[in-house]
């Protein structure tokens, strides 16, 4: 059996780095006595994969990991047990069973992510600013990859962008092929509108991680948690 766990990480837990989040959940799974499956070898480990790592400093209300089990356990039971093992700031939101074939691995399904950016001054950006920003034929930014810095047009990767009081909502391409960081969009948006932004004047929450589902009209984005078999 393979399960998909949706969790949130808020408050002080935003300072916990990705590797430590993994280690935290591994310990929580052992404390909760979840029948996790083990790999072979001399140091067997859990078969666990996170959909997308989240940088230190960001909160999330929609991150996911998949886990292989060695025995069946009802998804609600897993959720209940895990929530007894969470520190303040971590919470398990949803557990569902997913198919065990390769294609349904969380990481490979990731196509986009939703973010909300909150601004400390509560001002954010006006609606028409955002419209003009999006109307540009190209949005060139200097983007750092593992190997080099390069000018990249990020416009195609901004799937949606909107604003309300003090916050900006965005849906950005995510995953292993095209991954756009929300802070890059904030910086480029600020530059476009001439607004001064310091690195600590806004905070970012990941609202959900999405998979692309093909239908008649093209790609439709659905939360990773909606791809499962049994919802909780």
């Amino acid at each position: 059996m393979r399960i998909r766990v949706k969790f949130s990480k808020t408050g002080a837990m935003k300072y916990i780095g990705h590797l430590d989040v993994m280690r935290f959940f591994q310990k929580a799974l052992r404390r909760a006595d979840i029948p996790y499956a083990l790999s072979g070898g001399f140091s067997p480990h859990m078969q666990m994969s996170f959909a997308a790592p989240l940088g230190v400093g960001k909160t999330t209300t929609g991150d996911y990991f998949d886990l292989d089990l060695s025995a069946d356990m009802p998804a609600p039971e897993i959720g209940r047990r895990l929530n007894e093992q969470m520190t303040e700031g971590f919470s398990v939101l949803e557990v569902c069973e997913i198919s065990e074939d390769k294609a349904s691995k969380g990481m490979s399904q990731v196509a986009a992510a939703d973010y909300t950016v909150f601004f400390a001054d509560n001002e954010g950006f006006a609606e028409d600013c955002i419209r003009r920003y999006l109307d540009q034929p190209q949005i060139l930014v200097m983007r750092k990859t593992k190997r080099r810095e390069e000018m990249t047009d990020i416009r195609p990767w901004i799937l949606s962008l909107s604003a309300d009081e003090g916050a900006v909502h965005m849906r950005l391409s995510a995953g292993s092929v095209q991954n756009l960081k929300p802070e890059l969009v904030v910086e480029s948006l600020a530059e476009f509108t001439g607004k001064k932004i310091s690195p600590f004047s806004f905070r970012i929450n990941r609202d959900d991680i999405l998979a692309a589902v093909k239908d008649g009209t093209g790609d439709r984005y659905v939360p990773l948690g909606a791809v499962g078999v049994h919802r909780v």
């Binding site: 408050g11 002080a12 837990m13 300072y15 916990i16 780095g17 590797l19 430590d20 280690r23 935290f24 591994q26 310990k27 929580a28 799974l29 052992r30 404390r31 006595d33 083990l38 001399f42 140091s43 067997p44 480990h45 859990m46 230190v56 400093g57 093992q85 520190t87 303040e88 700031g89 690195p199 600590f200 905070r203």
Partner: protein, 664 residues
């Protein structure tokens, strides 16, 4: 939601913000009311090191069992945050409540190694606490120290209000009871002011009914509690101590070590705090016994934790299961001195293998004597191809090993190695010391020759077709630092250049061996070892040196990237003290030593006897073979009463009276 002491901007600027946010699994949160006694338990090094320390976890658990006590944790802020806190005047805070430490009732500091002394001052200064105990105001926290280094507390004595000598599980109850009696009534206590968020003004209301000194005076009478400011000392012209005595009536002349006799009843953290960060010891730590029967003459721990006290097998099994399920760790390790001496080790390991296997939990073995049993266990819990064997011969020749009373013989090492090589191992680690008392050129070169013999043993034992490449021998030397309460407490210590010459002698001898390509040789820093030696056997005058060094940038001296020998040299010069006075001379057994007023259980006459036997190259049997008459039988428990050794003594003229030389 908990409010953090540091804001976003700071936490995202510093390395590893997880060090400062608390909120870990099993961290204890309480609602402080005005009666709550607040304790900041501090390990003066970075979080990942401090969180790995068992002693703090034991005390944290013990204190938090009291309903009216909230014990929280404090570690040294790393250099980046240290700078920010100084620049912006941010006071040091405890991890759980994130409240400033300055308002706490106690700051407890565990002192595990000499190289953290500068960090003790960092903790006090960042907290806003006056460095010198005698100058501290009525309303400042009480600073209490404990841990192995306090068996010579003198170099840091003036920074502490109190020291707790011995094992923490014993008399803290009594100290807290005394504190409850002495502190001001709750209506105007610090806690009330604190929970109301009111800044306290000195003097008004205040912490005490009868003042800080009245409390300390009474505390000094509790066995095991040492209050340095109630003792005076004077010095001879040659710099040695001439006199050390209580400064007033009613203060005991000797302070005696406290120890646990009944471990089944003693507190042990069944729910240790589980850090988010990967700590240095990121696992369940199960202490299987305390003390050691071996009596290696260089080893302070082997002397000051006597007698050996084993925990019951069933108790350990229960603890192991409970701690694994309360933490979710993927690894458990056994800890103690000389773990192979634990009587029921086989049964314990079998039980652990049983409960850990199906859950994929690793067992990390302590260093065991290499024999058929330990090799069998090792092959069950580790990957033979990746793991290495560890031997600690400590010295290169049998003569030298007799001097230090290290029971391991060359034959033990070679037969153990042969057995291991047959079993598939081909990596060996060896630990040695250089600068041991009476060391000769032959002993020094003997290190390289022993490595060569082990290498040859591999090629003799394992036929060519069964070898997995070359044998890999890693030998490392540390420099011997004489420590208080060991038979070598009178011994001279080498200077830096002598140490380095010796290390180079070993290296050239290694290069002269047939199998030199299979042997890697490394050694420790010599200047750090010398400073450790000064602080280990120093006296009260060193407080000025420590403060001077701290004021000029000494911090995290245990970290080689931060240690600066120059800062310390300048500090010694500025204070007019010669570091080699403390290390390089051989002390007479007649000399009054700065730590002589402490009664650690082990008698001075025993130590003198052992010092003489060392000079004669005579070994002393371990506690199970024969009682050496060290004086610890007085405690009335442990190995002194459970083994055959209690029947025989090391011949009466030899052993003398175990009690002689005890001060109490």
């Amino acid at each position: 939601m908990r409010k953090l002491a540091l804001d976003d901007e700071i936490l995202l600027r510093v390395e590893k913000p997880e060090r400062y946010i608390g909120g870990e699994w099993n961290a204890v949160m309480k609602q402080p009311d005005n009666k709550m006694i607040r304790i900041a338990m501090c390990f003066p090094d970075v979080y990942e090191i401090g969180m790995s320390h068992l002693g703090i976890q034991i005390l944290y658990d013990m204190f938090n069992r009291f309903g009216d006590v909230w014990c929280e944790r404090v570690y040294s802020p790393w250099k980046d945050l240290d700078g920010i806190m100084r620049e912006r005047g941010i006071p040091l805070f405890a991890l759980e409540s994130q409240d400033p430490v300055k308002k706490f009732d106690f700051i407890g500091i565990t002192i595990q190694y000499e190289m953290c002394y500068a960090n003790i001052l960092q903790i006090l200064e960042l907290s806003g606490v006056t460095l010198r105990a005698e100058e501290r105001g009525e309303d400042e926290p009480l600073v209490i120290g404990g841990g192995p280094c306090v068996c010579n507390p003198e170099p840091i004595a003036s920074f502490f209000d109190l020291f707790y000598i011995g094992e923490g599980e014993v008399v803290y109850d009594e100290l807290l009871q005394l504190y409850r009696k002495h502190r001001a009534d709750s209506s105007d206590s610090t806690s009330a002011l604190m929970s109301a968020g009111i800044e306290q003004t000195a003097g008004a209301g205040g912490r005490w009914k009868w003042g800080r000194l009245a409390f300390l005076r009474e505390a000094a009478r509790i066995p095991g509690i040492y209050v340095p400011q109630f003792y005076d000392c004077s010095y001879n012209e040659d710099g040695t101590l001439s006199d050390f005595h209580p400064a007033e009536e009613g203060i005991p002349a000797a302070v005696s070590r406290q120890l646990v006799l009944d471990f089944d009843a003693a507190p042990y953290p069944e729910k240790p705090v589980v850090p988010f960060l990967k700590a240095t010891q990121d696992r369940v730590t199960l202490e299987i016994q305390r003390g050691c029967i071996r009596g290696c003459r260089f080893c302070q721990a082997g002397m000051i934790y006597r007698p050996l006290r084993e925990k019951h097998l069933q108790h350990l099994k229960d603890l192991a299961a409970r701690m694994l399920s309360s933490t979710g760790y993927e690894e458990i390790s056994l800890t103690s001195l000389s773990s192979s001496d634990y009587d029921e080790l086989n049964e314990l390991l079998e039980y652990l293998i049983g409960i850990c296997k199906e859950k994929g939990i690793n067992i990390s073995l302590p260093s065991l004597r290499i024999d058929a049993f330990s090799l069998d266990v090792m092959s069950k819990v580790q990957d033979v191809k990746k793991s290495s064997l560890t031997f600690a011969p400590e010295a290169g020749t049998q003569r030298m090993r007799n001097v230090i009373n290290k029971g391991l013989t060359e034959e033990d090492i070679l037969s153990g190695a042969a057995e291991a090589f047959t079993g598939g191992w081909n990596k060996v680690k060896l630990y040695f010391m250089l600068g041991l008392p009476g060391e000769t050129e032959d002993d020094i070169r003997g290190i390289a020759r022993l490595c060569e013999k082990i290498a040859e043993c591999y090629y003799d034992t394992v036929p060519k077709e069964k070898r997995h490449g070359k044998v890999a021998i890693t030998a490392s030397s540390s420099f011997f630092v004489p420590k208080p309460f060991t038979p070598f407490q009178w011994a001279p210590m080498n200077r830096e250049e002598e140490f380095l010459d010796k290390a180079h002698t070993v290296l050239s001898e290694v290069r002269a061996q047939l199998n030199q390509k299979s042997i890697r040789y490394t050694w420790h820093e010599a200047d750090v070892s010398v400073l450790e030696g000064v602080l280990a056997r120093g006296d009260r005058r060193l407080a000025d040196v420590i403060e001077h060094a701290y004021r000029h940038g000494a911090l995290f001296d245990a970290w080689s990237e931060f240690f600066s020998g120059e800062i310390w040299q300048e500090a010694f010069a500025a204070c007019g003290l010669d570091p080699y006075f403390y290390t390089a001379r051989e002390r007479s057994t007649e000399e009054l030593l700065p730590w002589d007023f402490l009664d650690m259980g082990i008698s001075k006459s025993f130590l003198i006897r052992e010092w003489k036997r060392a000079q004669e190259g005579r070994v002393t049997p371990n506690c199970r073979q024969a009682c050496g008459g060290c004086g610890c039988r007085e405690y009335g428990g442990g190995v002194c009463f459970t083994s055959a050794g209690t029947e025989s003594r090391v011949s009466s003229d030899d052993a003398g009276s175990g009690e002689g030389g005890r001060l109490s």
